[in-house]
Symmetry: C3
Subunit: 395 residues, 3 copies
């Protein structure tokens, strides 16, 4: 036999001779039961929890979404001075385009006909004055409303304040109506069109399902129990679903989240993948009542015949509706499946360790089993002392 | 030997004497082949599928993005009454700021010089009347346009309807032009600036790559084949890429998604991480044609010399372009690598089970192999009956 | 013994007789040390890196967020012609609602009193003309400003250009002030209210924590070192935090990202889950300086006494603040824990392979160990040649 041939043979043996472990069969039903029961536990976890409950065999993806909103309704207000005003969508929805976030005006402080001129400041400890010496020309107090001219003027018959350059007359926002001006906004309806995509799964859907008919859409109104799929919401209803009182919220404004959950299982129930609506007030939390409410200022600009600009300033209070779309879809994928099965298999490989421990320490005949299972090699000779040695567990 | 020393020795044995399994080498090439082939399959899966195809050794993160948009172009309209009107960006883009979602006006119903006054309702079964008795003062029908005054007035020479308090004259939105007013909007161009971040990987990028020159940017126009990286889009082109007809869509409006996919592999091809653009109409789906289109109402407010307010109401139809940015970047990370390798190792530990089963049941000499591999212990004595017992698999 | 009973016995044996591997104890401390050390390494990785550093036992979820913003401050501008103008929030914040993305006007080109009429084009090589023959009636150059009437008119005393139908006079946007008009915008403050949700964990929080008092909120100002939780930001401060100069950025505008990171560990430190603010300029990147800046055009519309419309066109430059909220929360979950432990266990099953290799090849007595560990079966007979065969590794 040449050296090369011997090398080759050795290689073939290494690679293609199969090396298998030697085993010992213990004819004891109690040990067998422990072994099978532990195996069963691991299998139950894999099949029951990982697959059925957690669906870990699925690849996940987050939703991509677009939203279109449309408010309907009109209101009629009467001021104490006998003037009436009619409000429609173009008047009270800001911005008008109907995007993800829309604002419905419910209350306001109006300051009409402001021009760029000079007027006395609103009275407060830092602006009241006795004569011109108390006012500094050019001073611009960040908490004030303009740049002081250095003059002290009559704000009212009793109070004198420093004069400022500003949009005059100044807004007096302490005179907020206690009952919301557009209290009837509670009956406005909001139509939400929502189109979603799971790009990786090439799955598209709208919240107006294909089983919704045109006539249903014209007459329905969302209700959790009776019409859970109708995309038309009465404002009062969604505010009360969020646990708030519309009239109370309308006075100082607020932010209301309309949360659309598109979590879906695309393996089995893709056909029944429908949005779930929920509602939550977002501008305050139970732990802290700091800075709730929602308001902003905007102006309408006009010009007089002489091209002089004047404006009407609005401090607008109202409810901002934020449509928040989220969701995760899952679809069977080989990688998470393999990873989870692999983890389960790894746990199965723990089962013999547990069974061996049970067999060698808890059984009466553990000593006997150990003698047959474990061979002790002695360092000083190559003789085996298999059957006469005592097991390591009991010495 | 004292008891403590014995205990100590026993401990050392437990911990530092190495317990290895006894094995049996089967010099059979067929069994060896089955073993190696199954091992190969598992390795192929790990290297080929998990690593190369699925890149499971990577940690994933979703994109964070900001978008700036800018429309260019002007249009010229001629009404039947001979009036012409020139339209530029400030007239037809709403809102003007150029954010993620922008609206290009293409068609409209204009109701000029509305004032807060009284006028007869639009005729429909519930508003037509014969005399004042048919109208109820103060009635506010949600499907109507105002609050009834209780009078019955001539809407036209032939029809009488109940009078309402409202913004008058009322909008008649059935007179929508059949050909879009700003049909030439199809030649407007849209410039999209998109800046993205993968925060965890500290990776920033813009859709205007560093290899794009200023002169290219001034003259290019997006085309999937010839200019796939140019961030300037002709409106007609992107609508047709979405499989729609611009002129048809312009009449009743719609929502068009400009989808930018930033999926990147940051390990190898970070330099070639470029956006991929695609386009999809979002306001209708093939399954259901309910409620397509996109329109909203807005008003421009004016004041007369006597400070009386009037407005021009626009029912604006047009195309809303929603820039939707998504993507997932992956970068090598130790944890997913370990998890996937671990799962593969767990599967490797299944290979001997398969090989043993093959050896003991499918081979002619299975019986012989079994006798040498498996030892049966007899409960009644501590004698082993190794070589004379018959294997459990064949009795 | 009947055949059925035999079958039954065989089944019971299969299922409930426990088959355990036969092992050999090697009384060699070096091999034992290698074995225990490798085990220790794997355990250290699992406990130390996977659990403590990477928190892989946690399920992750991305944040869902809403943002409300409010700017405070006023400015005063003086034009060279001696006119002063006062600017407040309603004048310089666009849009006024205070959403995620808000724009603060800092510079502008104003073109007052534009009407729909005819005027000579701005001079450039394609619009200058000598007489009417150089101008084509009806031509609408996309790089021009209107539709040519076919006449050649005096633009100035020296230059003649083609006349166009357009909003006239045309905007001359090359006359941008070199020092930003509203330079004092740097002292405006921005109040950000941010409310977040981790829906799967039912965890809600605001950036105004419950430990922040109302009085602190009235006087505080964000500073990374001294006031890291104050949600009120001075514009100059956040621009400089982003590494930019406010006055420089104010001239041509820009986009500034206010990035709020809500990454939280909800197992241990849910109470200390606070936002971390950072700032970054988004409209340019270091690699390429193409197309930086931010501007858009908008108009205010007016009507004359005769109901003719005119407008004031603004080319608005300014800083758009984009509030970008991101974050991932983790909470203990059984599935990722099991997967990671499983992967670690799989690696533990590699340890004996390593130890065996070390024992058989690196040890002096490897030959001896091999003889006792490995049994070679000879194909030609069922006799074992256990102790006299030489080990496969050393032949």
């Amino acid at each position: 036999m040449s050296r090369t041939a011997g090398c080759w043979q050795s290689c073939v043996r290494h690679v293609f001779h199969y090396e298998t472990v030697k085993t010992l069969v213990i004819p004891n039903v109690r040990v067998g039961c422990v072994f099978r029961f532990t195996q069963l536990l691991v299998l139950l976890y894999v099949v029951g929890y990982v697959c059925v409950v957690q669906k870990s065999y699925q690849e996940k993806e987050s939703v991509v979404s677009t939203v279109t909103t449309k408010v309907k309704g009109f209101a009629f207000t009467n001021t104490s001075t006998g003037n009436w005003k009619f409000w429609d969508v173009a008047d009270y929805v800001i911005p008008p385009q109907g995007e993800t976030s829309l604002f419905v005006l419910t209350n306001m402080v109006v300051t009409p006909h402001q021009t760029q001129t000079r007027c006395p400041e609103l009275p407060n400890p830092s602006t009241t004055c006795v004569d011109d010496c108390d006012c500094i020309e050019g001073l611009s107090d960040p908490r004030g409303n303009g740049i002081q001219t250095g003059l002290c003027e009559n704000f009212s018959t009793t109070v004198r304040t420093c004069e400022v350059l500003s949009w005059c007359p100044l807004e007096i926002d302490s005179e907020l109506p206690e009952r919301a001006l557009l209290a009837s906004a509670e009956n406005f309806t909001l139509f939400i069109k929502n189109s979603i995509t799971y790009p990786k799964f090439n799955f598209h859907r709208r919240n107006i399902g294909s089983h919704i008919s045109s006539s249903y859409l014209q007459s329905c109104e969302f209700h959790r129990a009776t019409d859970p799929e109708c995309p038309i919401f009465r404002l009062k209803h969604i505010v009360s679903e969020a646990g708030e009182e519309f009239q109370e919220m309308a006075v100082k404004g607020g932010v209301l989240g309309i949360i659309i959950d598109w979590s879906c299982d695309l393996d089995w129930w893709a056909e029944t993948c429908h949005p779930k609506y929920s509602f939550r007030r977002l501008d305050k939390d139970p732990a802290s009542n700091l800075a709730p409410g929602y308001n902003f200022r905007f102006a309408k600009y006009y010009k007089t015949q002489n091209e002089e600009e004047f404006r009407t300033l609005f401090k607008a209070y109202g409810i901002r509706f934020d449509v928040i779309v989220f969701g995760t879809a899952g679809r069977f994928s080989i990688v998470p499946t393999i990873v989870n099965l692999g983890a389960a298999l790894a746990f199965l490989s723990l089962v013999p360790v547990v069974s061996d421990w049970f067999m060698l320490t808890c059984m009466r005949k553990g000593d006997l089993y150990s003698r047959h299972k474990v061979t002790h090699l002695h360092e000083d000779g190559d003789a085996e002392a298999e059957l006469t040695s005592t097991s390591y567990g009991t010495q």
